[in-house]
Symmetry: C2
């Protein structure tokens, strides 16, 4: 199972964190933008090329430290098809550096259409006799609101291509409770979604006790992280909201099991914009990102058990 | 409000239907594929170009009949960034023909990231001093699982740019009930989501009694269509599941109000693949699509009140 691959990379690097590559153009240092705008004008293409350059340099600097990156699709789609091309190239480059790539797309649809999304991100696309990977990611975040037949094509691909998914369970935003915290019978909507993850995961169990169906559970709700870790023993967590959104390492630690596994914590802006802190200048952006990745790793691992299989 | 624009187009064309452009390569006639594979090889680019040609010819043939098209993003993403370029060009072409374009992307995320999706599809993207439309659609389908702060950026764009959204409420697939039909207090999850649509919509009301926040309610559940029409008087419905998925015109009619408004019914495969029916050959694909659009219009309008403002 694909989450086994991620787990092995986490153990190898002794680092349960993932860097979110959500490259708003505002985050890209001015000297990089200048270079690409000079060549391509202030166009979507110029922006997309600047972002790719920025991503690549950050990947170069952090690839030996982190097991994974998580590009957020929205920040590429925002730059049109040129931006989506940068998403593709970023995935390709990160994989060439041995990183596990989680596309944060929160995709969802009914069965037949979900197959198309599955093909796009985790599987293959047939063009007559030619079979190609449209994006070639390792994992995709998805929204389970449509129920099992929106998830089945993904599970099939997890088994067939050794991939994984992360289903939104409890998100990190302020209003996540409006629907997710409401009570159905004796449990919340997010608990119900969590139970569905365990059920879906039973069809694609890995060898380290976790299935290929992970869950997104926000760092901004530590008490729920703790509750969910107990309730969903086979579900690996992707934890957004650390750092910039306010979730601390002590709270985040509740997402982990006794072996220091069971979760991977995301940080995006704090890494990408690390160079904006005192003591750095624009040209240090990649080194600043590396420093922040080390700081985050030390912060989180200081609160969790030693990481081992 | 943007839904007013759609409503006016529905009244003008006396047609409350939308053609879903979900162009799997299998749906594209062989002679078109041959032409583009000859030029570009059996590549994602060749596929994307064939799909654009197919879409364009269908749009040419139906633009005088229907108010809107609904490209399903998954079927473009499946062909990588080249496919996404075809999505962009399809939107652009359909708009040049006066059609209202609903991108079926079911996007969802937390506030800051949802802003990026909003910019991508409904708003504008700034590239330094240059402000451009990355996709330039009129409307986007979205998933409301994350609550209000995932919807707020969209509502702002609806007001600022005269756009609309359709929130998933009750989807047309078989397992939609697993979560959507569960009971929270005295109402279902989908009723709760519907109420949220009414609330969100109160911030962007149009002049014909409907807000810019529509709801996706599947044709495969007619009794729920009827119930929702009464419960959500200001929420316009996008109704998938007619035809191929088994929803009939009589059931679909329950989504409409006394003025023959309040809903737009989607058909995708039945239109795109109409040429596969007896009496047509591949080269008739556009004419066959037109014939099916006329049949669908007559079928549905025969069950609903006369359409008027």
């Amino acid at each position: 199972m694909s989450l086994d691959i991620l787990i092995e990379k986490i153990v190898e690097k002794q680092n349960p964190t993932v860097v979110g590559l959500d490259p708003k153009l505002d985050f890209v240092p001015g000297f990089i933008k200048q270079k690409f705008f000079f060549k391509h004008g202030e166009t979507l293409k110029g922006a997309a090329k600047a972002i790719y350059y920025f991503n690549k340099k950050i990947i170069d600097e952090i690839a030996d430290l982190v097991p994974a990156i998580k590009p957020q699709s929205a920040y590429y789609e925002m730059y049109g098809y040129e931006g989506v091309k940068t998403l593709y190239k970023t995935i390709e480059y990160a994989k060439s550096k041995g990183l596990y790539v989680i596309v944060d797309g929160k995709r969802n649809d009914i069965g037949a259409t979900m197959e198309a999304y599955t093909n796009a991100y985790l599987g293959t696309t047939s063009v007559n006799s030619n079979v190609v990977e449209a994006f070639g990611a390792d994992s995709l975040t998805v929204n389970g609101y449509l129920g099992t037949d929106g998830i089945s094509p993904l599970i099939k691909a997890c088994n067939e291509y050794d991939k994984s998914i992360f289903v939104l369970v409890k998100t990190s935003n302020k209003s996540s409770g409006e629907l997710q915290d409401l009570i159905i019978g004796d449990k919340s909507v997010y608990n119900t979604m969590g139970d569905m993850c365990e059920k879906w995961g039973s069809e694609c169990m890995g060898k380290y006790g976790y299935s290929a169906v992970g869950a997104v559970v926000g760092a901004t709700y530590p008490e729920q992280l703790e509750e969910m870790r107990k309730a969903l023993p086979h579900t690996f967590f992707l934890v957004p909201g650390y750092g910039a959104q306010g979730g601390g390492a002590e709270g985040v630690a509740k997402a982990f099991d006794a072996k220091g596994l069971g979760a991977i914590v995301n940080s995006s802006r704090a890494v990408m914009c690390a160079y904006q802190k005192e003591g750095y200048s624009e040209v240090d952006f990649a080194q600043a990102a590396r420093d922040e990745v080390i700081r985050m790793k030390e912060d989180i691992t200081s609160y969790i058990p030693a990481i081992s299989l």
